[in-house]
Structures are given as C-alpha cells and as structure tokens.
Symmetry: C2
Subunit: 220 residues, 2 copies
Amino acid sequence: MSKSGFKHELFVQFARIGKALSNANRLELLEFIAQGARSVEELAKASGLNFANASQHLQELRQAGLVTARKEGLRVYYELSGDDVIGLLDNVRHVAEHRIAEVQKLVGTYLSAKDELEPIEAMELLGRARKGLVTVLDVRPPEEFLAGHLPGAVNIPLAELESRIGKLPKNKEIIAYCRGPYCVLAFEAVARLRKKGLKARRLENGLPEWRLRGLPVEVG
Amino acid sequence: MSKSGFKHELFVQFARIGKALSNANRLELLEFIAQGARSVEELAKASGLNFANASQHLQELRQAGLVTARKEGLRVYYELSGDDVIGLLDNVRHVAEHRIAEVQKLVGTYLSAKDELEPIEAMELLGRARKGLVTVLDVRPPEEFLAGHLPGAVNIPLAELESRIGKLPKNKEIIAYCRGPYCVLAFEAVARLRKKGLKARRLENGLPEWRLRGLPVEVG
DNA sequence: TTAATATTCAAGTGTTCAGTTGAATAGTAT
DNA sequence: ATACTATTCAACTGAACACTTGAATATTAA
C-alpha cells in the first residue's frame, strides 16, 4: 500500500533533489558546472569519469532540475539552472561541516590549522582589492577564468605558478581562490607562494559563492 | 580504481547528506522532528511507517548528522541536530519549487490560486500580532504546540476546529499555521474558517522556519 | 524475578543504483 | 554521400536500498 496525498507526493519530488545530491561524483560535477557552462567532454575529463557515465550523471542532475542542458552545434552544454542551486550546495557543505564528524577529521588531517585560520572574507577582500592593497590570484584553468572571475584577478593556473611567480608584485599580499571552499588548488597555491617568501592567503570561498552574494564578476 | 584525495573524500561525505534527503519518508520524518523532539513511536505513527522501518530511517538520518538521538528512560527521542538543518530543508524545498515542473503541477492541482496567493509573511504577522490585530491559530496536535509555538497563538487541532470555532473572535482576521509551507492542515483550516464567514489566511511557513529566522517562540 | 514495553538488530526479498561496455544517434566537415 | 565527432542509449553486473518479519536487547513496572 503505497502512500498518496498531496504532501507525500510533494516529498517524493523533494526527495529527487536529495537523490541528485546523494553521489560524490554528481557533487563534483556540480562544482565544475558552478564555474560556468561546460560540455560533457570537459566535465567528463575534469571529473575523471568516462563519457557515458558522466552523461548519465548529468542527465540525473538535469532531471532533478539542478542543471539545464542546451545543445550548441556539436556539443551539449550543461549549466546550473539557478543561483539557488549554489545556495543549496553551500548549505549541504555547511551542514556536513558542522554535523559530520568525518568531515571535521578530514579537514583536520589534510589541512593545517594555519590553512584553516587564514582565509579572508569576501567583503573584506572586495574592499582591499578596490584600494589596490592586494593581488587577487585565480588559480583555476583558463576556461573557467574566462567564464567569470573576480574583478581585476590575475589568472595563473597552479601548474604555471612557479614559472610566473616573478611577475607578481612582491610587496602586496596575494589572495588566491579557486572553485570553492575546498578546492585544493588555492590551498596549494598559498603554500607554494609562502615557500617563496610571499605573503599569501586564500579567499574563504570560490567564485560561485562570490557570485551568489551578488558581488561583481568580470567576464573574459 | 576508486578515487581518492581530499576533495573526493569530502564529496563522499557531503553525499551522505544528500542520501539522507533522498527518500520521501525520511523527509517526512524530518518535518515532524523539526516541530520538536519526538520518540520513535510518535514518529512512526505520525509518518505511517512501522516501528522497525521508522527506526531504520531515523538511524540513517542520525548517521548523516541531521538528527540526534537521546535515550530517556524507556524511549529514544530524536531531534534536529541544529537550525542549519531547517535551513537545508527549506533550501531543498525552494529549489524543488522553482526547478521541478512536477512540483508546480502538484501545487497547481491541489491548491487553488487563492490559497497560493493569500499567505502572510512572517514579519508582517509579527507586527500585526503585536498590535493585537490578528488571532494566530496553531492547528497542529497539542504535543507539537506544547514543544513551541508562535507567541500568543491559540491551539485548535483541525479535528476540533468546527466545535471550537465559536470561541474565536469574529472581528479579527485569523492567521493559521502548522508544520511548514506545505502542511495541509493550515490550508484546510483556512478553507473551513472562510466557509464559516470568517476572515482567514495562512502563514507562509510553519513553526520551524519561524524559529530559524530567530523570531520569538513560546513554549508550554 | 517476571512481565511488559520501546527500540533495535538480523535476515530475506524485490527494486534501484553506479559503473562498464558497445552500439546508436545526431550533428559537422570533407 | 562519407567519415568523423560528441553525446546518448541499452544491456549488463554487483552493490546498496526500502521494506517486511521475527527475534533480541534494554529499561521500567509489578
């Protein structure tokens, strides 16, 4: 005897959102999509899944309404269906951080206390960047940078950091950011910059969260 | 070759939250728990699940960190592990409403446009209630009312509404609320009150959302 | 102690899920 | 047309899930 009724039907629908979020690979795909529209190929490569599998996950995300797909010539581009989805992901992260012991343990194991304590807050960064007090460093791949980045940010993917480190101003503090609060690229960049004797910190969040807060984003 | 690395491990953990939210019965249980601490028996009865099954779902919710369990004498009480969980549920609802066509259809089928348009917003209600302009009506069962309710609210469960309708002031507008935005009790109450010629609307949300916003709650 | 109650555990069943592989589709370029 | 590409579909495997049933555990009451 399966249940019926308005409320239960609604919950069945709500559960679809939950189901879409119930797989680590899908969450990873969502984080990539949150950087801007991307093709299946790019997403498959970025997430390390094979095409068919990535495609299936993406369709599941689309059926749950979290992303939309549009075909452009040869390829299909997926993008977030709205900013509320970023908020939802943020909320999941927040609850996980606070309520799941394993998350706290993981963060403790992989990140030093110093990494944890240092991040700069979005509004503070905005203020200091406008006054020219800091260099904003975007360590994501160029495609993601082009799809949108913090105003005035310099794009140096992690791989090229060593070789281009000389071009960064020595006297200003450098604020690195990437895809989200746990994007390892930014942590790594900060570590390397500090090893070179530069003053560096990371932004507490990534670009999607920045955008969600309505802060200015530069394109191209 | 299963994936590894800090980020993926984190996403695996985040996915646990999603999985916990991926079942309609668990979402329903969460809505009940959001009204206040409840025993397994109460929750099983309220949700129409049998004991063992309810217990299993509750344990899954607990393992995902969404609820906590404490044993008190003979029975185990489950409660939300924090207000951020209410926020998360709210967010899921919000995304579902805006992104899943079936939800819009369901709402359209079960609720008249009038029901949809009439709800009063929390802050507005607070202001008008303080001035004594409205009667606030809590249509939830007494246990839930006792665990916390809007300041000055009158508790009349739906079943007793007809018989106690006379005791409500005739001249003031009545604002009904219950467990959440889709709790049917409030819709139903408003419909019945209007049929009796009273002026009635419902609160846009339920008690948990009210509490989440930091608005005052009366206990007992 | 024994009995009663609330909750959980354990085992079984049918269903759904994640991931793989290979074929099918639908556009684009030649 | 033909070949080529990006994406999706279809079929399959092993694992996980929802739910049921009946037994086990733990706490209180008699």
